[in-house]
């Protein structure tokens, strides 16, 4: 370091020119970085969800889709616009099918025999319920929460009823197009070739669809919205992108402003920032050739590492300014690098090492975070060694830095009593944090709040998304985005798989956690009984049940029951909703005996087959499994995944034993989410522990004594304890996003303790001197790091907001413990432990003199 300083004093421009030559290609390389939103790549390659998705998603897709909803009072206009839109959509990249017509002739031929059994059961329930509601003598016990004892009107639609009626309407009305009940909306379903595993393609397709919609709206007098399961994910992705942009801009400006204020000079702030930017460019330049892209978690590292990396520059520049107060510039530079350089490197490499420990995590969201952080921090440190000295020399020549005595700034050193009170407060926080801090693994709580956006600052995009969803619900009443998809090689495997799911759905129970107990000398296995998480399994068999099979016989019996209930009495006349009255009468009067057999596979129209057959042309069968639980609740998605994994085991031999040797999968977003949750929850605490141990070892290597190393960890531990206590008091939880901040805070927070303790020893135990000198630099370092995250606090995405909030809170606590608790403890309790007898004597004499 000193050699570079010497050389910089002689030839600063030469070094800067070489740095520029290295940095230009690095910047070009940085421009290749992109954010890959593929969630599957966050999983380890050997995870079941990851393997299945990579192997089969090209054949099965993940069930995701877009819908384009056209609205007009003129149905002819809607049809013309839909024809044109479909023509333009089909060639777009990533489009698998475009559906907006129903196979009317096929529906007319088979009609209600095409309705899946579970829908028929729901219709039967509804008919019984409606009949009882319309009767002054009846009570609807099947109506759930919608039942109002005082009301016999059955014309108010509950969401469940809308879904059933929406599904059955098509069989009653036999409309050739995907029209809403009032005929004012026409829907187009766009199924995509890829899903969450190639999400960038989906995002690009959304842009393409938006362009098509804009063109059609100009050509025809229609309003167009885009909805569907992919729209929700695309919105979220775009929101995160927007948040990253806004947060980067806000944090960048704030960091520049605060640095300028801290040095009371915008020019000095530039001296601080330029080597930092150079170092970051070097570090990020490695990404395209190593990790290839950023993921949804590492996407924020540019801001975070700016906040972290600026600390080293601040320490060096402050020290140079301090040294310049007493020495000529050349000596000041050498002295600063001799004294502060090593502690900057130690704290920097400690942070880098702490974060690099994350790389052992099998969750790639963590491991890539660790690898990139370590890589970039190392490059920033290299820049501090190579780029900062010539930068300082040039800055000095042009008057960008000046001599200043930072020791004149006054720190707070608590009295013994206040120190004890602070320690007591820490104990309280420890109890509060330990008892109240929770890990919330729900995806539901991490969804961005559309209603809040709509209510508070409704943007055109938010309004458009909401209107599109409403229009979508008018045309398509039920979801067709499954939780998971299986692939069956042939009808035998298909039927056996459906049988397995059907059995589970009808049993409604799922036995887990077998425990073997010995009862009277014999082993007895007991299980935990759970309610099944599987609602239904959809396949081509819904349209073509085996005419000799149970499914078909049950369907016929169910249909008869429904019609019998419809035929009893004249209750239908009292229904006020004309659409409902019409379809019930249609269904009641339909004679299924005229065509008593289900359609054969060969009779199925392409529009029905395509979404339920493999995309590879091998005519393998897809089985879409829908969860009965909220898939956004992590516990539910885990249970659903566990249940389908149990029903369709991973082991080929086991599947063959069950008669489903030719079944593959599952593919889908729920198993992917579930495995992410499982890994994060399973790994986070040992990752945190490893990070802590790693940091301790590095500090120990620097300080050489265990006792001193442990002491340096005090602000780190107490800062985290205060943070957890504050989180509980502020009703904050750890979640899948912000949990990464715990090891990051450990890495970032250790610097303060290292700097304070080494400076205190340097000043032979003169606490006020050390604390006063470091009060502002540590504040600046912490504050700039906090500002790196501050932009995220105003993010619309709750996950990002929680990262920002936790980081700011944590850094504030770590700073407070470093500049208040640590100096106080050093002053009151540790002097005799860490100083020589001579040093203690001098201090005692100084204090006695001061008292006099």
């Amino acid at each position: 370091m000193l050699a570079i300083c010497q050389y910089s004093l002689r030839c600063p421009y030469r070094i800067l020119a070489v740095i520029a030559l290295i940095t230009i290609p690095a910047v070009l390389e940085v421009q290749k970085i992109f954010i890959d939103p593929n969630l599957v790549r966050l999983l380890p390659t050997n995870s079941r969800a990851s393997k299945n998705t990579r192997t089969f998603s090209a054949i099965t897709g993940d069930g995701g889709y877009f819908t384009m909803i056209l609205t007009s009072d003129e149905s002819n206009t809607l049809v013309q616009a839909a024809d044109e839109a479909a023509r333009q959509i089909r060639p777009l990249k990533g489009v698998y099918t475009v559906e907006y017509e129903w196979p009317v002739e096929f529906f007319r031929q088979y009609r209600y025999h095409l309705i899946p059994n579970d829908y028929l059961e729901q219709i039967y329930d509804k008919i019984l319920g409606w009949k009882s509601e319309l009767s002054p003598a009846g009570v609807n016990l099947l109506g759930g929460d919608t039942a109002d004892p005082d009301d016999t009107e059955v014309n108010v639609q509950s969401p469940g009823e809308e879904a059933i009626e929406g599904d059955i309407r098509q069989f009653a009305s036999l409309s050739p197009y995907h029209f809403s009940a009032d005929g004012k909306n026409l829907g187009i379903i766009i199924r995509t070739s890829n899903g969450i595993d190639e999400f960038q393609e989906v995002v690009d397709l959304y842009k393409g669809l938006t362009n098509v919609a804009a063109g059609i709206a100009k050509e025809f007098p229609v309003e167009i919205g885009i909805a569907g399961s992919h729209r929700n994910k695309t919105d979220e992705f775009n929101l995160i992108n927007d948040d990253i942009g806004h947060a980067t801009l806000i944090s960048g400006c704030l960091i520049l402003l605060v640095t300028a204020l801290g040095f009371r000079s915008i020019r000095t702030a530039l001296v601080v920032l330029i080597p930092l930017i150079v170092g970051m460019a070097w570090g990020f330049a490695f990404i395209p050739s190593t990790i290839r892209s950023l993921n949804l978690i590492t996407a924020f590292l540019i801001i975070i590492l700016t906040g972290m990396g600026i600390d080293y520059a601040i320490h060096l520049v402050k020290r140079v300014e301090q040294e310049m107060f007493e020495k000529p510039f050349a000596e000041a530079l050498a002295s600063a690098y001799r004294n502060t350089g090593p502690s900057v490197l130690v704290s920097g490499f400690t942070t880098a090492f702490a974060l690099s420990i994350l790389s052992v995590s099998s969750f790639r969201g963590f491991s890539e975070f660790g690898i990139i952080s370590a890589m970039v921090l190392a490059c920033i440190l290299a820049s501090m060694v190579v780029c900062m000295p010539p930068m300082l020399v040039v800055a000095h020549r042009f008057g960008f830095i000046r001599a200043r005595d930072h020791r004149s700034e006054k720190a707070i050193v608590l009295s013994r009593r206040w120190t004890l009170m602070a320690l007591g407060l820490m104990g309280i926080c420890l109890i509060i944090g330990a008892s109240g801090l929770q890990f919330d693994a729900s995806f539901r709580n991490l969804e961005f709040d559309r209603s809040a956006i709509a209510g508070l600052h409704e943007t055109d995009a938010a309004r458009n998304a909401r209107d599109s969803r409403m229009a979508h619900n008018k045309v398509y009443s039920s979801t067709f985005s499954p939780g998971a998809i299986f692939l069956a090689d042939d009808t035998e495997n298909l039927d056996r798989l459906l049988e397995i799911f059907d059995k589970r759905i009808h049993e409604n129970t799922w036995l887990t956690d077998p425990v073997t107990n010995m009862v009277h000398g014999a082993p007895v296995v007991s299980y935990t009984t759970n309610t099944t998480t599987i609602e239904r399994a959809r396949s081509l068999r819904d349209y073509t049940p085996d005419p000799n099979g149970k499914l078909w016989h049950e369907r016929r019996a169910l249909l008869r029951d429904v019609q019998e209930e419809m035929r009893e009495g004249v209750w239908i006349d009292r229904i006020e909703n004309p659409d409902r009255k019409r379809w019930i009468r249609e269904m009641r009067d339909w004679n299924g005996e005229l065509n008593p057999l289900p359609p054969a596979f060969s009779e199925l129209p392409e529009i029905i087959c395509t979404p339920l057959l493999s995309k590879d042309g091998a005519a393998r069968y897809l089985v879409a499994v829908f969860p009965s639980v909220d898939r956004k609740v992590a516990a539910h998605s885990l249970r659903f995944t566990d249940e389908i994994y149990q029903l369709v085991p991973e082991s080929q031999a086991e599947r063959e034993r069950l008669g489903i040797g030719g079944v593959w999968g599952p593919v889908g977003e729920v198993p992917v989410f579930a495995e992410i949750v499982r890994i994060v929850k399973g790994e986070i605490w040992w990752v945190v522990s490893l990070t802590f141990i790693g940091i301790f070892i590095l500090v120990w290597l620097e300080l050489k004594t265990v006792r001193e190393s442990l002491f340096v960890m005090i602000p780190l531990i107490s800062g985290l304890v205060f943070t957890f206590g504050a989180m509980v008091l502020l009703s904050m939880n750890l979640n899948l996003f912000n949990v990464i901040m715990i090891p990051a805070l450990l890495g970032m927070g250790v610097d303060n303790g290292v700097h304070m303790f080494t400076r205190w020893k340097e000043y032979h135990g003169h606490t006020m001197k050390a604390a006063s000198e470091l009060f502002i630099p540590l504040f600046l370092c912490t504050f700039t790091t906090m500002l790196g995250y501050a932009g995220m606090i105003i993010a619309a995405h709750p996950g990002l907001r929680s990262i920002g909030t936790l980081a700011v809170l944590g850094m504030m606590m770590l700073w407070l413990t470093s500049v208040i608790i640590l100096p106080a403890m050093l002053e009151h309790f540790m002097r005799r432990k860490f100083l020589s007898a001579a040093e203690v004597k001098i201090l005692d004499e100084e204090e006695a003199a001061a008292r006099k």
Partner: protein, 207 residues
């Protein structure tokens, strides 16, 4: 002397006379319906605008319970319950369900709560008699709604008691049977009992 009537014929005649006397004693099924409707209406009118308090409920019970065989109705519904339903469960169900039948019949649009009744004829079918009525309700929009409300009655302890009622041709017992069949098969007997108890509680709150 040749016997004019055999012993057997005398016995049959005597039994017939006794039964006729019993019928006469019981009154006409239509009267039973009319009588209970009017008495219930009187109590409800007196309580108009107020919550159904204990005293009013007691009065209503005193009228409705002798007129309706709730026990027979709940027994009919219990036929769709699985055979392994325990006696305790059956008893719990009957208690809750009979309370539900009572409360639902006096709710705002309940079978007793029509603004007016028109009485039709009686039609015998075996031991049962069907009485046809039309219940006329005022609607929220100011109009009226006429609903065909037919009662099936049978004799019990010398009285005509209601064992089922049909609304626009829809059987109440059959409807309950269908609903409980679904609930029991999906959630079990205990859940079915719980649901009836919850619905009763809901009626009491909303009344």
């Amino acid at each position: 002397m040749k016997k004019l009537l055999s012993t057997k014929a005398v016995g049959i005649l005597a039994l017939g006379l006794m039964l006729s006397a019993g019928v006469l004693f019981a009154g006409a099924p239509l009267d039973a319906i009319r009588d209970s409707n009017e008495k219930v209406k009187e109590v409800l009118n007196a309580n108009a605008g107020n919550k159904l308090d204990d005293a009013t409920e007691k009065k209503l019970r005193a009228i409705i319970e002798p007129a309706t065989d709730f026990s027979a109705m709940s027994d009919a519904v219990l036929t769709v319950f699985p055979a392994d339903t325990t006696p305790a469960q059956r008893a719990a169900f009957k208690k809750a369900f009979e309370e539900l039948l009572l409360l639902s019949s006096v709710k705002k649009m309940g079978r007793y709560n029509a603004d007016n009744f028109e009485y039709g004829g009686e039609k015998a079918a075996g031991a049962n008699v069907t009485v046809s009525t039309t219940a006329i309700y005022s609607k929220k929009n100011g109009g009226t709604e006429r609903i065909a409300l037919d009662y099936t009655l049978t004799q019990k302890d010398g009285r005509w008691v209601i064992i089922n009622y049909f609304t626009d041709g829809t059987s109440t017992i059959r409807n309950y049977q269908g609903q409980f069949k679904k609930i029991v098969s999906a959630k079990g007997v205990a859940a079915a009992i719980r649901q009836v108890e919850q619905t009763v509680a809901q009626y009491r709150i909303s009344d």
